[in-house]
């Protein structure tokens, strides 16, 4: 007879190391998720809770502000990620050329700096630069791109607000792509390029037929990760525009924040958060499939 202790020796040993982290993470993530799902069926402020059935979800499906924020979140995410990828890849390719290694690490270090700043700080700098009296209008005036004396209120105009926030977010987060893709490029075996060069393949052909296929795995992973991170990002929009003007730059996290913490309408905020979670979960499922097949 094998005793319980012997039969599950590995499990018990593993658990004795894992339990503190597991207890903390279940308390901090699983319980709150269950609580938000429960709350989404209630009409709730801080003091009272009354059962509301599907009322919050019905309200959400017909709420134009929710859908406006939803699509604006999608746009914000799409353009942020697309520019992160293009700029990050271009700079990674440049850094991977046969350049002086000291210059390479210096350039990489300087290009990473935006990514180290808090989104709050980065947003604040851009608010100042984009102000009507700011340096961006000043430079555009100087270059003759806009008429001298006119100023654009980038964050105050509904047609430019979301684009301006996206620009800040592109600037702040492209270094993540650059660093990851540079690491990917450095892992491509040099022999592949040498063989291609002997065959007389042009640089453009080498890029399409060697570099891109070799980077496919890294690109898929970071695009998925960045999509998730950008879709849930709260700070850039909140700090720069607060979702305005007239909700023109509103995204899901800011809408949920205002409903929950300004109007104290926790039930409705929860319902919107649940929908947002479901969307993120679907994207995450793709990421999971990738990670699990490699992490094993």
């Amino acid at each position: 007879m094998i005793s319980f202790r012997q039969r599950y020796r590995q499990e018990l040993l593993a658990l004795s190391f894992l339990w503190p982290s597991l207890v903390i993470l279940v308390a901090l993530l699983v319980y709150p998720l269950a609580e938000v799902i429960r709350l989404s069926f209630y009409d709730s402020n801080l003091m009272t809770e009354t059962w509301a059935g599907l009322a919050n979800y019905r309200r959400l499906s017909g709420d134009p502000l929710f859908w406006q924020a939803f699509w604006q979140t999608v746009l914000f995410t799409f353009f942020s990620v697309a520019f992160h990828l293009v700029i990050g890849l271009a700079l990674a390719l440049l850094l991977n050329m046969r350049i002086n290694s000291l210059f390479q690490s210096l350039a990489r270090g300087m290009l990473i700096v935006p990514w180290l700043l808090a989104p709050t700080v980065a947003g604040m700098i851009w608010v100042l630069m984009l102000a009507p009296f700011g340096v961006i209008n000043g430079m555009l005036n100087g270059l003759g791109l806009i008429d001298a004396g006119t100023t654009i209120s980038w964050l105050g105009d509904p047609s430019t607000a979301l684009g301006s926030v996206t620009a800040m977010n592109v600037w702040r987060a492209f270094p993540f792509f650059m660093v990851m893709l540079l690491a990917g490029l450095q892992a491509v075996p040099r022999e592949l390029y040498e063989a291609a060069e002997i065959d007389g393949a042009s640089l453009a052909r080498q890029f399409w037929h060697i570099t891109l296929p070799q980077l496919r795995g890294v690109i898929t992973t970071i695009v998925l990760l960045d999509s998730i991170w950008t879709f849930r990002a709260f700070d850039p929009v909140f700090v720069m525009t607060g979702g305005g003007p007239a909700h023109a730059s509103e995204v899901l996290p800011t809408v949920i924040y205002f409903d929950g913490f300004q109007k104290l309408d926790f039930g409705y905020a929860s319902a919107q958060a649940v929908v947002m979670f479901v969307v993120l979960f679907v994207v995450s499922a793709f990421y999971m499939r990738r990670s699990m097949s490699t992490a094993g």
């Binding site: 499990e11 040993l13 593993a14 190391f17 894992l18 503190p20 982290s21 597991l22 903390i24 993470l25 901090l28 709150p32 609580e35 938000v36 801080l46 440049l94 050329m97 210059f103 690490s105 990489r108 270090g109 300087m110 700096v113 700043l117 808090a118 700080v121 700098i125 851009w126 630069m129 009296f133 340096v135 000043g138 600037w171 993540f176 660093v179 990851m180 007389g200 042009s202 640089l203 992973t221 990760l225 998730i228 849930r232 709260f234 909140f238 996290p253 929950g260 913490f261 926790f266 929860s270 958060a273 947002m276 979670f277 993120l280 994207v283 990421y287 999971m288 490699t294 992490a295 094993g296």
Partner: protein, 288 residues
């Protein structure tokens, strides 16, 4: 030969030299463009505020002054915020590394039922919308009397630092042979002793990398800090900067000096430890 080459008139060496010269040029251009906002923060922070709204804006301050820095560094209200941020970020980092090392050890060294489920759970936690978590955190912390305390921030920052540290340390541990730990245990060392005297010291690059990243995330966090903390003496930098925007409405020079001081520690740390950070970022995202 070289039918496809773009500049077929030039030899391979010349072509390569031209390409390299172009790379240097484009990289320098990129550095200049990317650094503009940071230079703007710097130049605004060292000019008197009256100059900030002058049109057209100038890159060189007409009057150079460090008054804004002096104003911040001599004000105890601001010093408290710096100390809070340092304390909370360090505490969260060490806690995540300690708990993370134990969990990572279990995941790397044992083969147990439910291992895949734990891994899957850890990866999924990184996908949670933080705004969703805010709602129950706020309500529970009010109930527990932890609302508006620094402790609440230390607890909730673990939601994103701990899973990341576990995954990154695990992938590093898996590349280290267990032979040394086993030998130490044969010699009478306890399992805990083997972990902390042998495995942890040889894994120091992973600890520096994961630790820096956890520190960065905690230092820069804003949403939880805004929702869970109210009183000024409990605030952290990101929240203080945000509330100063309203308070200081026109003191942009002070705001930028504050932003410089808030960013400087991270930038210095990361420049010194660039190598570990790059390893950390790469391993953290790829997890395998």
């Amino acid at each position: 030969m070289r039918r496809h080459s773009l500049a077929s008139g030039l030899g391979t060496d010349q072509r390569r030299m031209l390409l390299n010269a172009m790379s240097y040029g484009l990289l320098i251009l990129a550095i200049v463009i990317v650094s503009l906002p940071i230079l703007w923060m710097l130049t605004v922070s060292v000019r008197p505020n009256l100059e900030v709204m002058r049109i057209p804006p100038s890159w060189i301050p007409a009057h150079f002054t460090l008054a804004s820095y002096g104003k911040i560094l001599t004000n105890p209200r601001y010093i408290v915020v710096f100390l809070n941020t340092i304390f909370i970020s360090l505490f969260v980092t060490f806690l995540s590394l300690f708990l993370g090392a134990l969990a990572a050890y279990a995941l790397a060294r044992f083969n147990f039922m439910g291992q895949r489920v734990v891994l899957m759970f850890l990866i999924i936690t990184q996908m949670f919308p933080l705004i969703l978590l805010c709602i129950p955190y706020f309500r529970v912390f009010v109930m527990l009397g932890l609302y508006d305390t620094r402790t609440s921030l230390i607890i909730v920052y673990l939601t994103f630092t701990l899973p990341f540290c576990i995954l990154m340390l695990r992938s590093y541990f898996m590349n280290i042979s267990p032979a040394m730990e086993e030998a130490a245990m044969v010699d009478g060392c306890t399992r805990m002793g083997a972990i902390f005297r042998i495995l942890v010291p040889v894994s120091y690059p992973a600890f520096i990398g994961a630790g820096l990243y956890a520190f960065l995330l905690a230092w820069n966090e804003f949403l939880f800090a805004m929702v869970l903390v109210e009183a000024w003496e409990n605030r952290v930098l990101t929240m203080a900067i945000y509330s100063l925007m309203a308070e200081f409405v026109t003191d942009w020079s002070g705001m930028m000096a504050f932003s410089m001081l808030a960013s400087l520690p991270l930038v210095v740390a990361f420049i010194l430890l660039q190598k570990f950070m790059v390893q950390g970022m790469t391993a953290g995202a790829l997890t395998s």
